[in-house]
């Protein structure tokens, strides 16, 4: 780590970059601008907090641009235990979040094709293809991604990340920390939790070696506490969807979930969600709904379709349908009660083994069923995501049971979260139309 790199970091990130982004945010807050062609007759304008989300995310990637040489960099899977790395001062990048950003900005296909030209099959997860494409070509809409000094792959979302991170390890020639979280078919046996705990403990010296410093447990507890606070606030925001009309939709949640995924354990994330909650509460007070004329309320299962968020929000909104809750966004909040800052490693072992993606198909069905009650929903859209087998397998039965056992209208919508080639506009519209008819 050189003096030049430190100076570059301070100048570009701390002084110029942050000030510029803050100024941009002030401007946007002073004169909120509604994006072009936004159907304000159907859906509420974007949340005011959007300016702050943009600032947070931009600053995060700006920091990444200058991180190499200034601080250690880790690339981490989205459900990975990040607290130890945060406490050690790592700059943490989540390739899946970067993938989502590329998806939302319609940049994922180009990157995906880079990976495919290299030989990766179209049948592997599109997040992985996007990320590998970015790695191979150096292309990204955020300027530049920092090279990792360390990789952390946690299998609590899928095994795919393990294969994907092996590719990264080979290309960057850096160590991987593996946190293997046995799949929970029913309940996690004690020995599985113990196994995760031991791996977390064993990861500390590896991360310390890369960071070239010792982990302070005091700092770790503080990071874990902040992680819990942010997750609790996020959960509160999700629960506000119980109000009628729902103040925000899942499409808003998808846009504003980036900080809870990639900036857990930071004070600014807690402040951000506290501010978001305040704005959501203001909407509730004023009776503002995410959909102007909310007549029906739905559940969304599985990942978002990043390149079609607005299309779906408006198409459904036109019919007075608000998609108010999602098993996916809930995943980053529902485990908040398990996080115990006084027992960081033990509680992390439990927290990280239990995300919805690491649980059985029956649990997922029960979760959907409960959410339908809790949020008083009229039906569910299950996005059958070609890329994400662990989330999608089981949906055929889940859909059938929602309909036959619980009388809940449910639609299986075939698509892909990041690859627009798997989305046929007309076909989707036709499927949605017949589903909407069923809801009436």
């Amino acid at each position: 780590m050189s003096l030049r790199d430190h100076l570059k970091y301070y100048w570009n990130v701390k002084l110029v970059g942050s000030a510029y982004l803050r100024w941009q945010r002030w401007q946007a807050e002073r004169k909120p601008r509604i994006p072009r062609n936004w159907r304000t007759d159907i859906i509420a304008p974007p949340l005011k907090i959007s300016a702050r989300t943009k600032e947070l995310i931009s600053r995060h990637y700006l920091e990444g641009r200058y991180a190499n040489g200034h601080k250690p960099v880790a690339w981490v899977t989205s459900g990975g235990p990040v607290e130890i790395l945060q406490a050690l001062g790592f700059y943490v990048l989540y390739p899946e979040n970067h993938g989502a950003l590329c998806g939302a900005r319609r940049y994922a296909l180009e990157l995906s094709e880079e990976a495919e030209n290299y030989g990766f099959s179209q049948d592997i997860c599109s997040y992985a293809r996007t990320d590998i494409g970015a790695m191979l070509s150096g292309k990204t809409p955020v300027g530049r991604l920092p090279k990792p000094d360390l990789l952390l792959a946690c299998t609590n979302i899928c095994q795919t990340v393990l294969f994907w991170y092996r590719v990264l390890a080979k290309h960057f020639n850096v160590p991987i920390i593996l946190i293997d979280t046995p799949f929970v078919y029913k309940n996690a046996p004690e020995h599985a939790i113990e196994y995760v705990k031991k791996q977390l403990e064993a990861s500390i010296p590896v991360a310390e070696r890369v960071a070239k410093k010792k982990l302070s447990f005091k700092k770790l507890k503080e990071v874990v506490r902040l992680s819990r606070e942010a997750s609790e606030l996020w959960l509160e925001i999700m629960y506000r969807g119980k109000t009628k009309p729902a103040p925000i939709s899942v499409f808003d949640q998808f846009i504003h979930m980036a900080p809870i995924v990639e900036m857990r354990g930071k004070p600014e994330t807690v402040d951000f969600y506290a501010a978001m909650l305040k704005e959501v509460d203001e909407r509730i007070k004023k009776g503002i709904g995410a959909v102007k004329n909310e007549r029906k309320r739905l559940l969304w299962d599985n990942l978002p379709i990043w390149y079609k968020l607005r299309f779906l929000a408006e198409y459904l909104g036109e019919h007075g349908i608000s998609v108010v809750a999602s098993t996916y966004t809930m995943a980053w909040g529902e485990l908040a009660p398990l996080i115990d800052p006084e027992r960081p490693i033990e509680s992390m072992a439990k927290t990280y083994i239990y995300p919805i993606l690491n649980r059985g198909t029956g649990y997922k069905l029960q979760k959907m069923r409960d959410m339908v009650d809790e949020f008083d929903l009229d039906g569910a859209i299950l996005h059958s995501d070609r890329s994400c087998k662990p989330y999608s397998i089981g949906q055929v039965d889940q859909r059938n049971r929602l309909i036959s056992e619980y009388g809940i209208p449910a639609l299986l919508l075939e698509a892909d979260h990041n690859d627009p080639r798997a989305f046929a506009d007309e076909q989707v519209k036709a499927r949605l139309d017949s589903f909407i008819e069923m809801l009436e």
Binding site: Q159, L162, V167, T361
Partner: protein
């Protein structure tokens, strides 16, 4: 042609003698533990010829054909003779399969998932031992038996002997020694065993009681020679289904001299060391030949394939992949590049195990073998 009894005959005979039969999904599991409970493991790699629409009633089209076919096989009564089902956690798709069985399909037989750790660390071994303990308790419940340490060790010894025989078959065919890596030929004996027949024998390990497998291997070793004509190649992938691919390779002028198939070469486990039986079984699986699904690095697989090519004189590698199989698909671009740099050409063909061998696949194999020749 070597005579091998049919699976259902084997199952029936085993059950008539008072044992139980377990249907086991791919890839790694503790064979000896099952046999200590007098349970015969019979593996389910698909199988190829079933009406896949039954699996399609539960699974999306982008799930691999091994899982689709296994579910269809179960739903059409293919597993009716079995008393339990074991689902090792090999990949996201088999994870989903196990979960669907437990939560929705709910077959008559009890289902036991077994999670396989993805590392080679001390904690991975300990965890797998604990998984085997859970399985032991489950098997105790359904059989009423509680085999003692020495009984399990005895079963492990026999399984290790069978695996040693399996290795011997590979060594004779490849004319090398796993131990020293040196070439080792033997004088030709009896009829030549085709590639197709070689795999019929090797894959009999998927369902024959271990004692019968040892007899079969001994018979083949003493009475047959092996086809070694044409271009020697390594076959890599999950399973050689449809098995006609093996004839197609021979007809195109090649012969398989070694493999890195999940159902075969990736299970040439070494002998165990620990005297604690569950630990011994766990170590054998964890430290077996490189396998993507068990978390080995691409470099380890590359080294293994390079080694196999060196000791057997293989001139190229055929990657025979199942469509939608993520574990395999992630490795291939880098693996193929690394092999190319090491002077080992390769070709990839993708199949759906339920389909007849596509003509296009045969053409690609032929073209590849022609270049190698």
């Amino acid at each position: 042609m070597v005579k091998i009894p049919k699976r259902h005959e084997v199952c029936r005979k085993f059950k008539e003698q008072g044992g139980k039969v377990a249907a086991v999904l791919p890839i790694h599991y503790p064979r000896a533990l099952l046999r200590a409970f007098d349970i015969l493991p019979v593996e389910v790699w698909g199988p190829p010829q079933v009406d896949v629409s039954y699996g399609g009633a539960h699974l999306q089209p982008y799930v691999c054909s091994i899982v689709h076919n296994a579910l269809s096989f179960l739903k059409t009564g293919g597993l009716d003779e079995t008393d339990l089902i074991i689902v090792p956690h090999t990949c996201d798709s088999l994870q989903g399969f196990g979960s669907i069985l437990l939560d929705f399909v709910k077959p008559r037989q009890p289902v036991f998932p077994v999670y396989l750790p993805r590392g080679k660390r001390q904690e991975d071994v300990e965890f797998l031992v604990n998984e085997f303990k859970s399985l032991y308790r489950g098997l105790e419940k359904i059989t009423g038996k509680s085999p003692k340490t020495d009984e399990i060790l005895k079963r492990i010894e026999i399984e290790e002997k069978a695996d040693a025989k399996l290795k011997e078959l590979y060594e004779i065919r490849g004319e090398f020694s796993f131990e020293s890596g040196k070439a080792k030929s033997r004088s030709s004996k009896g009829d030549a065993l085709s590639t197709y027949d070689f795999y019929r024998v090797v894959r009999a390990r998927e369902f024959l009681p271990v004692e019968e497998f040892i007899e079969l291997a001994d018979e083949v070793i003493s009475e047959y020679s092996f086809v070694r004509e044409g271009v020697p190649v390594i076959l890599s992938g999950i399973v050689p289904e449809p098995m006609e691919v093996l004839n197609a390779i021979e007809e195109a002028g090649g012969f398989v001299v070694a493999d890195d198939l999940a159902c075969c070469g990736r299970r040439l486990y070494g002998g165990g060391k620990s005297s604690e039986p569950l630990k011994r079984m766990a170590e054998r699986i964890i430290f077996g030949p490189p396998d993507v699904t068990r978390g080995n690095l691409i470099e380890e697989r590359f080294e293994h394939l390079k080694y196999l090519a060196e000791v057997t004189g293989a001139r190229g590698i055929i990657f025979y992949t199942v469509k939608f199989c993520e574990p395999e698909l992630f490795d291939l671009p880098d693996l193929k590049n690394m092999l190319k740099s090491a002077g080992i050409p390769s070709v990839q063909v993708e199949i759906d195990i339920g389909d007849p061998l596509p003509h296009q696949t045969i053409t690609r194999l032929t073209a590849f073998l022609e270049v190698l020749a």
